[in-house]
Symmetry: C2
Amino acid sequence: MNLTKLLKPNTVAVIGASEKEGFGGDTCRNIIEYTKDLKNTYFVNPKKDSVFNYPCYKSMSEIPVDIDMIVICTPQKTVESLLIEASKKGCGGAVVFASGYSETGTEEGKKAEKSLKELCEKLDIALMGPNCAGFVNYISDVYPFAFISKKRDRKGNVGLISQSGQLCLSLMESQDMKFSYAISAGNSKVITMEDYIDFLVEDKDTKVISIYLEGIKEPKKFIKSLRKAAIKSKPIVVLKAGKSEKGKKNAASHTGSLAGSDKTFDAIFKKFGVIRVDDMEELLATSNMFSIIDRLPEKPTFASMNLSGGETGICADTGATYGVEFPDFTEDTLSKLREQLPSYASPNNPLDMTATLSYDADLYAGALRTVMNDKNIGAVIIGYTLLFEIADPAIYYMAEGIKRVIEEGNSKPILMLPFLENTRNYEYAEKLRNLGVPILPPSIYAFKILKYLADFIQYKYEDKILEIALPDENDFSSTKALSEFESKMLLKQNGIPVGEVCVVKNEIEALEAAKKIGYPLVMKIESADILHKSDVGGVRLNLNSENEVISAYHEILVNANIHKPDAKINGILMQKMMPKGLEVIIGVNNDVQFGPMILVGLGGVFVEIFKDVSLYPAPLNKKEAYKMISELKAYKMLKGYRGEKPCDVEALTDMMVKISIFANENKNKLSEIDINPLIVYPEGMGVGVADALIVLKE
Amino acid sequence: MNLTKLLKPNTVAVIGASEKEGFGGDTCRNIIEYTKDLKNTYFVNPKKDSVFNYPCYKSMSEIPVDIDMIVICTPQKTVESLLIEASKKGCGGAVVFASGYSETGTEEGKKAEKSLKELCEKLDIALMGPNCAGFVNYISDVYPFAFISKKRDRKGNVGLISQSGQLCLSLMESQDMKFSYAISAGNSKVITMEDYIDFLVEDKDTKVISIYLEGIKEPKKFIKSLRKAAIKSKPIVVLKAGKSEKGKKNAASHTGSLAGSDKTFDAIFKKFGVIRVDDMEELLATSNMFSIIDRLPEKPTFASMNLSGGETGICADTGATYGVEFPDFTEDTLSKLREQLPSYASPNNPLDMTATLSYDADLYAGALRTVMNDKNIGAVIIGYTLLFEIADPAIYYMAEGIKRVIEEGNSKPILMLPFLENTRNYEYAEKLRNLGVPILPPSIYAFKILKYLADFIQYKYEDKILEIALPDENDFSSTKALSEFESKMLLKQNGIPVGEVCVVKNEIEALEAAKKIGYPLVMKIESADILHKSDVGGVRLNLNSENEVISAYHEILVNANIHKPDAKINGILMQKMMPKGLEVIIGVNNDVQFGPMILVGLGGVFVEIFKDVSLYPAPLNKKEAYKMISELKAYKMLKGYRGEKPCDVEALTDMMVKISIFANENKNKLSEIDINPLIVYPEGMGVGVADALIVLKE
């Protein structure tokens, strides 16, 4: 559905216009107070001739022009007939504040919403809500927003979409945020979150997209928008609810969002370079940072310039905690700084330039220029607590010094980092903003945000397969497991090496197979009904003779019979005993929203106790596979730990890519793959699939 | 040295009083502006008759009364003679702003500081500084502070000590902090950080101690103060610099602080219940929280009450991330809430109470009362973004509701948690403060701080040995390693079981030993010169026969001879081959400041790659040992992982306690112990020392 008439209407009618408190009155008050030109806004109320001294129409039909968009401030029962009436006036967009729909959790509410959605589709009306707070288009001055907010002059380039009205309002009220659009999407059941995201990705007035998200409904559309944003390098900053169990439960009851796996969102965001933040303050400050800086740093490295030793130490420590890199200055920079700084200063990065320089704009600009010109540095962080009321004149000189350096051109991004909050002098904050210098929140937030920035500029969409293996449908309620032999054969058919393996049904076949495969051997019970083979005594390792093979054959069958008398036994699986190596798990799980997700981690306790795993959507290429394993803590073990040889990472990533291709090709029938363990040998010696399990949709 | 005359002087002389900018003028301006009663303050300047219309004396000798404390605003060269003069007037305290001492890094500066220190000791003058910004005693209205700050009315109960003047000033300028004392300690070479801490621990006007610390000089005094604070349950909140390598380097160059191991401070803080925070914002907000709440929660559990689903979700997710516990409400609470909340609300903890209740003080108080009375709850967090300019009237009703509940008495602590910063309406912040309700910083900070609170109330000094094994002197520059046999014998003599072990010097002895010990056996090269025995082929495991013993004996000697021809060989060590079990490391390292520190962790990659270790000062008791291991991520493995039996944690903690006693008794000669591995067997089956290394001071 096209959102132009909804979000960029030429003519707007406010239905239920009023002067009283409530949706009608508050919306009129907002529109009248904030809209510069009211000539294309029409107030409608059958009982009134004027609203706040503006003329009021009895009905839409009286309005002398076509209406692009209507704002429905009246109760639920009036909504559908108003939409039908509006449609006749050429209406293509509507904002519906009324509640009483699916958010009630009742059958009646759900039915009303379904009916509303169908009507809108029939009439081709892009409907925001129901149960929403409306939106503001700051660019073309449209203000159908139902909550009263005090601050003004908020036109900027952040496009905000929020599934919570309260959070939308909080951001609109904040000191620093400047918007292209602010959209409180409500139930977002007609026009969805995905539609708004796509609109803002395409919108040329929006530089940064800022989202509070509880869940998505149309993965395909969502992914398409993320892909476009990635290619445009347009930052999408997301606060996604539902990280914790309690949070997930809450999101489900708040907007009825699908409780998909939250970790899957992290994986999707990694592929598409979306920045996931951890709370509202980060959402605001990260969006703001991207909004304000004129250019992105060319390198993910920072210089930190401070006026005191204590602050310098905090930058060093907090930076290290959050992975922000302060490279050493070059010799050239150091020698220049030795000239520019007082003799008792000792130049380093982070830099304690001492307070002296902050009282002289020339000297300050000089040191800033020196640091900025260092070839190791991507951006400069100025550590300074800008107070609410200026007590110390330093900021006058510093701001002037910064201005001079920026006006010389070719400067790198400069960001200000305060050590305490609740301190920003508005005049200077605005002055710095106009210079392209954002003020970050205090240090823990600040360094997290700088890390987001560093990650963002290191993201290269060219290195990724910008698609995911979305299944055509997602009903995996009924599945069946394959046996190990069946699983391995299916992998083999798909070009994934699984080693020589066969199933024998009697002693003679077992001995023949032994001769063919060679000792030492492994024998296992072969049955789709026995997934935990060791638990039933169904595995014999390291067999070295015909006698051992014969007795293993019988023991395994007897054990299986005792522990799983009802299992259908296909025979005994035989394969070569693999030499020791590093044990890795490769898993695939077909996510209910986003299709097959690849998991990799070192086996056993590393996965189960240390939760040291990487998750990433299929399909993936070698670079993506390599990035997945390099993000493991256990990566050091793969690189050759304590004198061990480095592992065959090449073969491991090859295997991951092959599995991902297989998963992609089988996205509609595959439920799960578990290769556990995959044994990884030293460099050049490959990998071996020791055990494999595939579960298919039935 | 007694600090009374310095920090609580009855009479003060300001030397170098002036009206110009600079130490003299700024100090006079501060004193005149902020001190209510100036009758005991005397200004001294040989060139002036008055300062800002107050009389000025030509010299100290003219002052008609004795002087408790002098504030020296004049340059370095005048300081010593002024101290001598002041001493004759009964002076016992001095503040010295002048720099030019050890912070310059020059020999001259260090010499000047040494001389100053000696003079002060001779004259018994407690000197703050040099190179400091002074202090404020807000309780008895003393204001010898050299930096201009604008905000006033800061009398409260937080005692602040900072090794950075800039950071001290930032905290003094902040909106919310209210102090008993604010001390900018400067070089703190005469009166040390430890002295100030001790003063504030004893000070009845100080409820919370807030410290920016770069290092300490007198561990004994430091520990004594921490012990007192622990017993009094007086919170000490510390921002300690030097977590990172760059931060450590910076601290060393800033105040010349000793670069001891930063992790040791964490360990010390754990023993004494000190709260270590990560940046200035946390220092401020954590101190403030303790300052404002009227009582501590009785349980480390929280209820979260919010006005919207989005905010509720953020509390759930962020709380889970930072380990803040939201227990389920009781059935009774839930059924009451179902009555009190709108029908569409679904009561849970965290609670989305919906915005409706926030417009009715009675209803709000009702729901708050219900939540507060829940027996599972220790404290209540009200999630609300208090704006700078109030746009929404909700806060009126909420504050009134909170007031009513608090005034009923017996309430639990209430804390307000905003979702965005830069928002606090001063009037309401103050109103809430007076009700004992602190406003925390936004959610990431807030939940970290709530976790500090939860940890603090769970700290029980009665469960700890409140002392540490401080060596009499700390010169460990020259050490020697014992061989494995010597190490084990030393442990054995000290009551630490090491299993049967002997050293043989020929084949016959080897065979006799084998008979005595029994198979399977281990043989190792026995030499203090060969610490990495496996690396030289000096270890043979799992020997099962006389033949194997004989050949192992020769092989080991030959290998040692090849790889370490110069090593002094004591013979071959023989011991029983130990059955497999969980391999643990117990280490001891004698810290240069704080004496022997005990380290525990699971062996190999867990220690080296996952850095999963606990560090804690000796001596320790069983409870402390148990806490150490329960803080390991690998603790799950000790508790019995994947069907394995639980390990003998009892025997492991016993061993840790014994090692700690041994370390304590030998604190003056012990440099290092490395028991690696200690094999831990299933419950009731004990532990076994497989290898041990002791390094002694030479």
